[in-house]
């Protein structure tokens, strides 16, 4: 046997206790070295994450100096507009911005073509609106200020009136911002600077969290102090959800076909085509997203514009769906492949058809893995900016998306847009936008993860 033919030299080595001990020490040492390396890798990743969060939070919170055209304290007790009845809010508008009242009617009550707003009678412009007595046949310009005020009072609710007063009368402007670290550690200096530069003109200094309810619920604005992310949040939700609804069934369907119907085929032509398709899908996963944007622009925005309506949510969702399809297909394929073939055999052995086997055995077992791929795809869809810029998502939009064919913007574009503005305050608002984006990502992913856990539990419990 082979043992007997080992050379005496080799046998010597095997018996050498000292050599073994020395060797063992160095083996353990190498192991410890690798372990240290893995540990450092984790620490590095963790530090990078901390730095990211710190950087964002540092901008999103801090002292600001805000000035008003008219100080709210002069309008309401403690500056609390919410305590004022609607009549007083309208009075404030009449007193301060009488000549702008038709503009508010147009912005808040009128949905049609702005070009004809001043020329047609009110009855033709405003259908579901309570008009002041005897004004139905007049154009907006022919109304007295009192009648215009009555029109606003009768038809606009208090929250919107407050928004108009804040934006048009109080006109808050941010004069300076400080970072969170400065706010925490250099308070005296900030205080002194404020007294020296701004106190005289009646501005106020206060600690502002840029993430607040107003930020989440206000539309975009050309005034950074009043700017909000609502339209972008809704746009992102719309686009991502529609994207998933398109990409999930198509991606999973393609994966099922590749794995369950064509793979393992001995027919060399089918096998070759299969391999070709798979290679291409894997390559597509690495294509820069901007190229998908160009594709979406050519197909969905231009060629299919009668169906999609051009630069709309559905065009964006279709483009994003194309972008994340490879991710979903690849992950679903892996998940389906990981289902033990013994389970398929058991099902077939009991007289199941192929579809029954797929539906009752393969898919339930693969679902957690499929959902993992969907989570990855969804995260990518939330964060992608380039393709949406290419297909022409709006950078400034005041309206909420209302349907698949409405114009839209999304958070990454809002952030990109804000960071490229010259005003410092927008950069701070952008930091707040990033936090909103991260939280949204977390919520959507958590939902998918909960679904995945549920699917997994049903397999083991």
């Amino acid at each position: 046997m082979a043992v007997n033919t080992i050379s005496s030299e080799t046998q010597e080595y095997l018996r050498d206790e000292d050599a073994f001990k020395r060797n063992l020490r160095s083996r353990h040492f190498r192991g410890r070295l690798w372990r240290r390396f893995f540990q450092l890798a984790l620490v590095a990743a963790f530090l990078a994450l901390i730095a990211l969060f710190f950087n964002i939070l540092n901008s999103a919170l801090g002292y600001v100096v805000e000035d008003y055209a008219i100080n709210p304290i002069t309008l309401a007790a403690n500056g609390d507009l919410g305590a004022l009845p609607e009549e007083e809010l309208v009075m404030i508008l009449v007193e301060n911005r009488a000549n702008r009242l038709p503009v508010y009617v147009r912005d808040y009550l009128y949905a049609g073509d702005p070009a004809v707003f001043t020329t047609l009678p009110l009855s033709a412009l405003l259908s579901n609106t309570v008009l002041p007595a005897g004004t139905a046949d007049l154009t907006i310009r022919e109304l007295s200020v009192e009648q215009q005020a009555e029109l606003l009072l009768n038809n606009i609710g208090q929250p919107q009136l407050i928004a108009i007063v804040e934006e048009q009368v109080i006109e808050p402007t941010i004069l300076q911002t400080w970072s969170l670290t400065a706010s925490l550690f250099e308070r005296d200096q900030i205080e002194a600077e404020f007294q020296e530069n701004y106190a005289a003109q009646g501005a106020t200094l206060f600690f502002k969290s840029w993430i607040n309810l107003d930020f989440l619920t206000s539309p975009m604005s050309s005034n950074p102090a009043a700017a909000g992310a609502r339209t972008a949040i809704l746009g992102t939700l719309y686009v991502v959800i529609v994207t998933i609804f398109i990409a999930f069934p198509i991606g999973v369907g393609a994966a099922i076909y590749l794995e369950e119907y064509t793979s393992g085929s001995q027919n060399s032509r089918t096998a070759r085509i299969n391999r070709l398709i798979e290679t291409n899908i894997r390559n597509l996963a690495g294509v820069p997203s901007i190229i998908y944007g160009l594709l979406g622009l050519a197909i969905f925005v231009r060629a299919l514009s009668p169906v999609t309506g051009g630069r709309t949510i559905i065009s964006a969702a279709l483009t994003m769906a194309l972008l994340i399809l490879p991710v979903i297909i690849i992950n679903a394929q892996e998940a389906i492949r990981a289902v033990p073939s013994s389970l398929r055999e058991a099902s077939y052995g009991l007289g199941a058809t192929r579809w029954q086997t797929i539906y009752k055995v393969v898919l339930p077992s693969a679902l957690p893995g499929i959902l993992t791929g969907t989570i990855l795809g969804m995260s990518r869809a939330i964060g992608e900016t380039a393709p949406l810029i290419i297909i022409g998502a709006s950078t400034f939009i005041l309206f909420d998306p209302t349907g698949l064919q409405s114009k839209f913007t999304v958070l990454p574009i809002l952030i990109y847009n804000w960071t490229s503005r010259p005003q410092d305050e927008y950069r701070v608002a952008a930091a707040a936008g990033i936090i909103v984006l991260l939280i949204l990502l977390l919520i959507l992913n958590a939902t998918a993860i909960i679904l995945r856990q549920r699917a997994r539990r049903s397999l083991t419990a």
């Binding site: 001995q266 389970l343 083991t460």
Partner: protein, 275 residues
């Protein structure tokens, strides 16, 4: 399968007849020219060394080989008077009549109840009462009922290896096949669990035809009425490689195979000289 033909044939002595069956994987011949008749309501054991094609033959009986890409069967497998490989036969129907239990217990990651109800549900049984009845009868039929009747909602994967295999048997008999193929059903089990399965087989054979592949010759001796011994033939190719295929060497009553085999090869295998 036409009802008249099936009725005529069920009275025949043989449940399944294999006529000159060859199995190919792609271009490669795996089993050559197997002919044997499997008797109704008896246990037939396939024994032989690894690679002799006994599992391949077993899987050709209920067309499980169809699932392997490139597998091809020539010759005839006659069941109830019809060739199962005729073009008008649906493999799904074949597998519904000829059930299978696998080497490694493979319960679905579902509850015990859902495991057993899987087959009946495939066939369209929906009524809760009906399913309850089937589940209870099948689990009793596989001697598992007393151990699991209080936690039918528990996952089938939570059972021990032997229990899992009995669950798989319960799952198979839930659709009332008339033949059960068992591919080394005890090879992953301890002796006590093996004994339980063997007892179960002796019980099941009163109602079903059973074909079992086993590596364990004592097992074949203990449970089988008939035994088929398969072996390997090889042919040298250029470059030191060879081509191997399986053949049926001898098929007879179990005592005859083990006590007075006709072929020297059988004797040598049973004597433990190769395998």
């Amino acid at each position: 399968m036409s009802a008249a033909k099936a009725a005529r044939q069920t009275t025949g002595a043989y449940a399944i007849e294999l006529h000159n069956v060859n199995v190919f994987y792609g271009e490669k011949l795996a089993v050559k020219d197997v002919s044997l008749n499997i008797q109704r309501q008896k246990i037939t054991a396939f024994i032989g060394p690894s690679g002799c094609g006994k599992s391949t033959v077993l899987r050709s009986i209920n067309r499980m080989n169809d699932l392997i890409g490139g597998a091809r069967v020539t010759g005839e497998v006659v069941y109830n008077g019809e060739n199962l490989y005729a073009s008008n036969i649906d493999a799904v129907e074949v597998r519904r009549r000829i059930g299978m239990v696998f080497q490694k217990a493979n319960p679905f990651p579902k509850s015990i109840y859902d495991n057993v109800a899987y087959g009946p549900r495939l066939l369209g049984v929906r009524g809760k009462k009906q399913l309850d009845e089937i589940v209870e009868r099948s689990l009793k039929g596989s001697f598992l009922w007393d151990e699991v009747k209080n936690d039918l909602k528990k996952s089938g994967l939570a059972l021990s290896g032997g229990q899992q295999q009995r669950l798989c048997i319960a799952r198979t008999i839930a659709i009332e096949p008339d033949t059960i193929l068992m591919d080394e059903p005890c090879s992953a089990l301890d002796p006590i669990a093996t004994q339980a399965i063997e007892e179960l087989m002796r019980e099941l054979v009163k109602k079903y035809t059973i074909v079992i592949v086993t590596h364990n010759m004592q097992q074949a001796q203990r449970v089988a009425d008939m035994t088929a011994f398969f072996s390997i033939r090889k042919e040298a190719l250029e470059g030191g490689k060879d081509r191997r295929w399986g053949v049926l060497v001898e098929y007879a009553h179990t005592p005859q195979i083990f006590e007075s085999p006709q072929f020297e090869e059988t004797e040598r295998y049973i004597g433990g000289e190769f395998g």
